[in-house]
């Protein structure tokens, strides 16, 4: 969202999802206070990780590919008079060159800085002048641009996206202050946020070889060292029609729209195939442990296990596993670790499945005062071991399936939600994978859940990080002027 909603509306800081706070999408512009941006990112990830297709989805999505390779997905959804125009590029921090971590995210910022046709800063101003809102987000695997309008402004959204796909200016005078902005973004999201700092560090240790080891936003010294030439190279390499997906969803008529899309995007030349990421993370052979010391109040425990992504057949059982452990207050981690043992004020699980390559399954807990990280870690492990020892009850399995199906239905309440997971799936594995998703979920048995718990949630396959709070600061008061 591009317009502020207010400044002093605090979140409670409960139910933080540490892994996703660390790994979730980075937006171009905040518009909302940080905690809410994060909540949206979490929502998106729950949506993407936790649910997917529906019967009939394949019939509702119209797919075509232009001659230049641009994939086009159109969804007619007239229930509200709005439209979302989105372009998803298959480039994220996994494609960042060594020493240039975060360059994909930096480029996302620069995509708002104008073309020869539309001057610097005019992109978003034009959108807002037309009653629209725009934003973008970058993850490890893709970069997405989304503009939402009243349905009658759909052409404007398409024109703007076609223009910046082909003609981004990338001027030095726009780049230099924006690099400072990105450094501020890193300070805001990571440097001064203990939970995110821990998540970033655990991720860096969990991956030895694969570029998932660096953060989406990049290391500070890398950000500081970007040059305009780095951005030009990245743009030319990855921002080609054959590396992108255009999604238009909402109150549209696809037969009207398609010829217009062809004329706006069809002339953009196909680019060379972008280089593939060939690094494969070697199997982890033994537990890795780390600590992060930071000005904070209470310890956190974060454990990350290597797991397959959404294209693997085990993804369905892993989704169920995440719900059994962390799908609400009746889930095992909350029931045992928070409610019964009273060790933590929150304890959650998240499965990061929406990635091109294998990623991580996260367990995290925020301690109650007076408890030790050791006892909380043991309690988390005890829940994992319980799942490995005994199959879950039928009702527990059914609850997780009901939650996933319900999440799916609720996600369709907004056209943005639908477009978001189409774009994410298409960018990492192909949107059609969604069509069989609920069937895959329905077929999961208690034995499957037990098997994936045994196979993946092993101590040798995990990286454990502990946040160790250091002494908080002191207070001074005075008057100004």
């Amino acid at each position: 969202m591009s317009v502020r909603r207010g400044c002093r509306l605090g979140g409670k800081g409960m139910n933080w999802v540490v892994g996703l706070r660390a790994l979730g999408a980075l937006g171009h512009r905040p518009g909302a206070p940080l905690y809410r941006t994060i909540a949206l990112a979490i929502g998106l990830f729950l949506l993407l990780g936790g649910m997917a297709s529906a019967a009939g989805l394949a019939d509702r999505v119209f797919e075509t590919t232009l001659a230049n390779g641009l994939k086009v997905l159109l969804v007619e959804e007239p229930k509200a008079p709005v439209v979302t125009v989105q372009v998803w590029y298959k480039v994220g921090s996994r494609n960042d060159p060594v020493g240039k971590s975060g360059i994909s995210h930096m480029l996302e910022h620069m995509m708002f800085k104008g073309t020869p046709t539309i001057g610097p800063k005019q992109f978003s101003l034009t959108v807002q002048r037309n009653g629209g809102v725009d934003n973008a987000h970058t993850t490890a695997d893709y970069t997405a641009y989304h503009t939402h309008f009243a349905a009658d402004r759909v052409m404007l959204g398409l024109e703007l996206e076609a223009d910046r796909m082909a003609h981004l200016s990338l001027e030095e005078k726009e780049f230099l202050p924006e690099r400072q902005v990105v450094m501020e973004e890193r300070r805001l999201r990571t440097e001064d946020q203990p939970a995110n700092l821990l998540g970033e560090t655990v991720q860096a240790m969990a991956f030895l070889a694969h570029p998932y080891r660096w953060p989406v936003i990049g290391w500070m010294s890398d950000i500081e060292g970007y040059t305009r030439e780095d951005l030009v190279r990245h743009y030319r390499t990855y921002y080609t029609p054959n590396n992108a997906t255009l999604i238009v969803a909402g109150d549209i008529k696809r037969d009207d729209l398609l010829p217009k899309i062809r004329s706006l995007f069809g002339h953009i030349p196909r680019g060379p195939e972008p280089p593939k990421v060939t690094t494969v993370e070697p199997p982890q052979r033994g537990e890795r442990r780390l600590s992060v010391k930071k000005d904070a109040e209470l310890p956190l425990v974060l454990a990350a296990y290597h797991v397959p992504n959404l294209a693997h057949r085990d993804t369905y059982a892993l989704d169920i596993l995440a719900y059994v452990l962390g799908g609400g207050e009746s889930a095992r981690l909350h029931q045992r670790v928070v409610y019964e043992k009273q060790l933590a004020s929150y304890a959650v699980a998240e499965y990061s499945s929406v990635h091109v390559d294998r990623h991580l399954f996260w367990l995290s807990a925020g301690l109650l005062p007076g408890k030790t990280a050791e006892e909380v870690e043991q309690a988390l492990s005890a829940e994992v071991e319980g799942l490995q020892r005994e199959p879950i009850a039928d009702r527990e399995l059914q609850k997780a399936k009901n939650q996933i199906e319900s999440e799916f239905i609720f996600a369709q309440d907004s056209v943005r939600g639908l477009a978001n997971w189409l774009g994410a799936y298409e960018s990492v594995a192909g949107w059609r994978l969604l069509a069989g998703y609920l069937d895959g979920i329905r077929e999961v048995t208690a034995a499957d859940v037990q098997r994936v718990a045994r196979q993946y949630l092993t101590p040798d396959n995990r990286t454990v990080g502990i946040l160790i709070p250091t002494k908080p600061g002191v207070t001074a008061e005075g008057t100004r002027g």
Binding site: P33, S345, P369, S406, T479
Partner: protein
């Protein structure tokens, strides 16, 4: 954890600030129907049959404003404990029942009201309403549940201290609202929460959880008559009888700048600057919203973002807002910048506040602001939870369901002269509160 309609009413209301940015051209049909139930609940219903889902938002006048002065956090603890056990269901049974059907039921206290949010598939609406009624009418506040929840709340209070943005916002509220409930965090303090007794909770619940003054907005796969029938069956035993409530007197206006600077080992200064604002019934409300869009509410279209982010590169996030709470409003600018540029950024904020007071805005700025505020209406109401929040907001502030039709003309009537007039009247660059959480040695904040 998921899909919970944002509970805290201050958030709901803030979102609704945007919802008041409505144009009438696109949505012609009324968004909802209004009826008063036999026990006084105002029910607003928007029938949407596209999906088999129902989303409900209930606002109860049981917020932290009603905390006894020596018991900050009582309203919040009461709200937090509603789902932790009823006469016929344990805490775990409540959460298991709603989560088994893939629904959600949450309660969150704000300063003005406490909000209960329910989302269920329409086939499970009876179960959802039964649970909603049960936690509202029959919570037990068992001693062991109180002990548990107090520990969780205390941990949350402490963890909030880890977020410099939260610490700054809290310090700012305390400066603007000294001795006023709006100046205290809803959740209270570690000490005040620990001192709350079961009797306190029972008394607060008995006195303030009442149907009169309660607003229930429901959106989705349900009709008004059907819903009335279901609600009367479950909530007719809920009795009116709200105690008299004297709103707290508005706090004193600042006479000079005051600063609270908090030392933390952080890389950024977290800055909140502002003062008292206006309430929703202020006749200048619309001119103020347009003025604020130009100053700092309009994202990239705002002067604060143009100057501090785009030109200087000092901040990722900078903006301003007028928040109209029920009994007093707030104006605030918030930003985060590296410690070293804190001082310059604050000066730039004050310079922009002065400029919009001293010089008329351009016709183009006014035109663009109006175009956004009136044209973005459909986006404000594109999900069930947004519609529910909007209906509750319109009712809470007595705006009337025809507000949608009136909004565009209210905004379009604002002139360049109005902008300057309200800027001069409602922005005070010479007497403001400033809260900064930073590494103070580097931030060079003058005291």
């Amino acid at each position: 954890m998921k899909r919970q309609v944002t509970g805290r009413v201050r958030v709901v209301l803030a979102v609704a600030i945007l919802l008041c940015c409505l144009a009438s051209s696109v949505v012609a049909a009324p968004l909802g129907q209004r009826i008063v139930l036999s026990n006084g609940i105002v029910l607003l219903v928007s029938e949407k049959r596209a999906l088999p889902i129902v989303t409900a938002t209930m606002s109860i006048q049981a917020g932290a404003l009603l905390d006894p002065p020596d018991k900050p956090g009582l309203a919040n603890l009461t709200a937090e404990l509603l789902r932790r056990g009823t006469r016929t269901r344990s805490a775990s049974q409540v959460s298991e029942a709603i989560e088994f059907v893939g629904g959600s039921l949450s309660v969150e206290a704000g300063h003005d009201v406490t909000t209960v949010s329910l989302s269920v598939l329409s086939r499970d609406l009876d179960l959802g309403l039964e649970l909603l009624a049960d936690i509202l009418l029959h919570p037990t506040f068992a001693p062991e549940e109180i002990q548990r929840k107090v520990k969780e709340v205390v941990a949350a209070i402490r963890r909030k201290q880890e977020d410099p943005g939260e610490v700054s916002a809290e310090a700012f509220a305390a400066l603007v609202f000294p001795g006023h409930p709006y100046g205290r965090p809803v959740e209270g303090t570690e000490a005040s929460v620990a001192a709350i007794t079961r009797d306190d909770l029972l008394r607060f619940h008995g006195a303030h959880y009442r149907p009169d003054g309660t607003i229930l907005a429901v959106v989705g796969d349900v009709s008004l008559p059907d819903l009335v029938r279901r609600l009367e069956a479950r909530l007719s035993a809920w009795r009116s009888g709200r105690p008299n409530f004297t709103p707290p007197p508005p706090p004193a206006v600042l006479s000079r700048p005051i600063v609270r600077a908090l030392q933390r080992d952080v890389t950024q200064a977290n800055i909140n600057l502002g003062h008292l604002g206006v309430t929703r019934d202020n006749p200048d409300y619309y001119a103020i919203q347009v003025m604020n869009y130009i100053l700092g509410g309009g994202g990239i279209a705002s002067r604060l973002t143009a100057k501090i982010r785009e030109e200087k590169g000092w901040a990722y996030d900078v903006g301003s807002a007028f928040i109209p709470d029920k009994y007093a409003g707030t104006f605030s600018v918030s930003l985060q910048t590296k410690n070293e540029t804190a001082h310059e950024a604050i000066e730039a904020v004050l310079a922009e506040m002065r400029r919009i007071r001293e010089q008329p805005v351009s016709e183009a700025e006014l035109r663009d602001a109006k175009a956004y505020l009136t044209g973005s209406f459909p986006l404000r109401l594109d999900t069930s939870s947004k519609i529910a929040g909007w209906l509750a907001w319109v009712e809470y502030y007595n705006l009337g369901l025809d507000y949608v039709d009136r909004y565009a003309s209210l905004i379009n009537a604002v002139t360049v002269a109005d902008i300057q007039r309200v800027a001069q009247r409602y922005l005070h660059p010479d007497r403001y509160a400033l809260a900064v959480v930073a590494d103070l040695n580097k931030a060079r904040i003058k005291e």
